[in-house]
Symmetry: C2
């Protein structure tokens, strides 16, 4: 069987391959039939030149063309949903139903359509006009965006169809997608539909390009290339930190989502009041998608006592009575086993699980440690065990709880469960502000899994969860901001201004900050 | 004379000094009498602990307290303006009038008052509310901000009174200022007034702290400390890149303004039409403040021909007929001489100047090169010659002009002069979009000096002008964004929400993005 082509400069063409690979069906261990190239640097060169040219052409594109592309692409994904789900299921072992077809695919097309709506609205660019001085500014496309998709969402975070892709395109940038090598065929199918949709909307054919795999050194060289505008990455901390270093060295904006334990704090009143129900929520949340979610709860804090022991027992029973999911790949399975060992080496004790149970499958795993252990060396006990394992830290009292919260690294989310009667309010007031600064999203009485794609969402947080605490990867229009630069026009003649900055409101509904007031009106001069 | 005290943890106290230094009067070469400490790491420790505590306390401060502080501080600076200007003049050789008293001081107090207005308004936090899902988010203080002030604006960019300071405080963060060692006494006087103003407003005394000097290694350790929220830096590229590397390694947000040539492109029609006037503007702009401005025009592009030669001649005459300013320090003078030598080594030819003329004074200097020389090795000819020197690059034709623009690094500004008759419009359409992506602020028919402090201003630009093209250091409220993190509240009980996210609009005038619409209304329901 011949080597699969890459999508470069508007064409499916043979890669300049430095090597080849095949994906594996994680459920069976079978090597899947298609052979994919590891691109050499000359493919990257071609992609970068084509993307730079497309970035220039895209400046002339109308909002309705870009929105049209995103919408048509969404429609095309839907039309091919059964096939896409079947392929993705083979490559990831994620169930077709409900996960792939009923949850992830609609989320993906929903994101593309929300991005399209943001393009048509235009307010994401924060057009700001000072009429007296004739100084005007807006957020503008930053240039070609290289998107590294992760293993855990073959559609919704795919480099060629997911959230980073949608945001980068909506902001007016071409995208070069680096597929995740665990699901190359899924990515290829998505790229095919993107390519068809581009042609239907008259956008530059190189607006979307896709490579399957790169040697690590080429990936880092790519990140640092001057033709690039920005980088989006979702994946492991180890890879993310390398990409961050390469980008930082040349001042390239890079947005990374690298790791998170999503701590859950259960206060004593809530534990007494509804510990059983919360234990059920925790078990459900940490087993969702085999625990392979960015916002899977990896660390839960309980206050020592009989109720805590009962809670742990309930979670244990739930985990033991639920069949473990097949993990995304043998790599995930091996990393999970290693991470659990690392947690044990750091003093955590196994409550249940901790061993493999067949191909790419690991027993649902619960570990526990106490606050003293955590405080003795907080970082090893914050090892992310990506998959169906979770740690409970039992603290002695409020002082120890506070100390633990103060030693948390940056995470995407933090949840606090408190009594409905007000019994925990003083403790909440003490701990929540400390947790607040360490997470991007603070939740009450709710597990972190389930990231709504909505304007106020923050899927981000302090380092090392991400590379910058000011940006979100999910939610429109905020997610677009990552792929922009601030452009100011000072005394620029009116016909030369971007339409969003001209006196007339271009679509009658664009929100602009004119002389300090948000308005949808024209500027009368 | 005893060692001057530092302002740490709310008190003027003796430094834990690793060394001492005195400032120099650049006009006379005299060492000024006061002796200042180089703080050792234990001062930094104290500052960091106190700032972390102040950050927590500041969360409870009311907008009117923070705004009150900024306003009172401005008033106190004004009340002491004659003394401040006299001290700053001694330390920097910048003239008291008009520069220090009539221009820089009002800009500084104006910035503090604009920051206060932004605090009272509150809309800078972009409160975003999705009512159906009860997900709410805003920009919140990021934590203690370390501000490194530059040498060239003893008031307006001072770490303890300037733009970064005002923005960081307005966003709700304590500031630790690292004075520029060229003007320690100016900084001390400003810190005194800040400290008095804090006491009058009931804010934590450690909201403002100040050190004069640090060993470079301690500075980098400071930048990377976990207690810090963000770093603001204005200064040289060499120092900025070191600070960036230290911050990036730990994922610390860092905002740097490092260098810029502020290219000016004069198209042939404009040159023919009004070359003499533009030459006068260029000479005036590049000599303003002895050329020691972030936005001083350091590189001008002309199209070859008689008009270009005449332009160069006019600039030469203007430079030769204007007495050179005393530079800010012997360091600036030495660097300027070295940079001019570097430009010459890269092929630039001296048109006038190029030599020292007495103490800390350098002849007004004009260099020229041609497009071919520039294109042969573009970076050496983009050496920043900070001070009263500027380079003209003469290009052969439009193709060469385009090639030169495409090799420009990132700069703060780019100006294009074009004919009023439309004769340059085609050339503008070709070159301006290329220049656009390489600069933060694009100007027409205007020199870059003179940065209006206004909402639409962008004092920023792509690397290496700054560390990130998405942020501005000047202009309220946009400048606040740098010192924030995005905080989302998911299902958080209403009484626990920040007031800006509660259903009631807290001041009746706060702009909030509620279900996709900007509104100042309360949320009902």
């Amino acid at each position: 069987m011949s080597l699969q082509p890459v999508l470069l400069a508007g064409q499916w063409r043979p890669a300049s391959a430095a090597g080849t690979f095949r994906a594996e069906n994680p459920a069976t261990g079978e090597t899947l039939p298609d052979e994919f190239p590891v691109s050499s640097w000359s493919d990257c060169e071609l992609a970068l030149d084509a993307a730079a040219a497309a970035a220039t052409e895209l400046r002339a594109a109308l909002p309705k063309q870009i929105a049209g592309f995103l919408t048509r692409f969404a429609g095309r994904i839907e039309a091919r949903s059964a096939e896409l789900a079947a392929i993705a299921c083979l490559e990831t072992a994620l169930p077709q139903k409900p996960r792939l077809i009923e949850v992830e695919l609609p989320r993906t097309t929903g994101q593309l359509r929300q991005a399209a709506a943001a393009v048509l609205d235009g307010s994401w660019a924060v057009p700001t006009i000072d009429t007296k001085l004739n100084i005007r500014s807006l957020l503008a496309p930053v240039g070609p965006v290289l998107v590294f998709g992760p293993n855990n969402f073959p559609f919704a975070y795919n480099g060629v169809a997911g959230g980073d892709f949608a945001a980068a395109i909506a902001a007016g940038n071409p995208v070069i997608a680096k597929a995740h090598p665990c699901h190359p065929k899924t990515t290829q199918r998505l790229a095919e539909e993107a390519s068809f949709a581009l042609g239907e909307c008259g956008l530059p054919a190189a607006t979307v390009q896709m490579l399957y795999h790169l040697a690590p050194a080429d990936g880092l060289r790519f990140v640092a290339d001057l033709r690039l505008g920005a980088v989006g990455f979702t994946g492991s901390r180890a890879a993310g930190l390398q990409i961050k270093a390469a980008a930082d060295a040349v001042g390239r904006p890079v947005y990374l989502e690298m790791s998170s334990l999503n701590p859950v704090v259960i206060l004593p009143g809530a534990l007494a009041e509804r510990g059983g129900a919360i234990a059920g929520e925790l078990a459900g949340s940490c087993l969702a998608a085999g625990g392979q979610m960015c916002v899977s709860p990896g660390l839960t804090m309980l206050f020592a006592g009989e109720a805590a022991e009962q809670f742990i027992q309930t979670v244990k029973v739930k985990l033991e009575s639920t069949p473990p999911a097949t993990l995304l790949s043998s790599g995930v399975a091996a990393n999970l086993a290693a991470s659990v060992k690392k947690l044990q080496a750091a003093g955590a004790e196994l409550v249940t699980g901790g061993f493999g149970v067949g191909r790419n499958c690991f027993a649902n795993t619960l570990l526990r440690a106490n606050g003293e252990q955590f405080l003795a060396d907080p970082n090893p006990l914050q090892t992310e065990a990506f998959g169906n394992a979770t740690l409970i830290v039992v603290v002695r009292d409020a002082d120890e709880a506070q100390a633990v919260v103060c030693r948390l690294e940056g995470h995407l989310t933090g949840s606090v469960y408190s009594s409905m009667s007000g019994a925990d309010d003083a403790l909440y007031a003490r701990l929540a502000p400390l947790l607040r600064g360490r997470v991007g999203r603070l939740l009450n009485d709710k597990m972190p899994t389930g990231v709504a794609v909505t304007a106020a969402m923050n899927h981000g947080g302090p380092f090392p969860a991400t590379g910058h605490p000011g940006f979100t990867a999910v939610g429109f229009p905020a997610a677009l901001r990552r792929f922009t630069m601030l452009q100011c026009y000072d005394n620029v003649r009116s016909a030369r201004l971007p339409v969003a900055l001209q006196n007339r409101n271009p679509n009658g509904s664009l929100w602009r900050l004119v002389d300090g007031q948000w308005t949808q009106a024209d500027i009368t001069g």
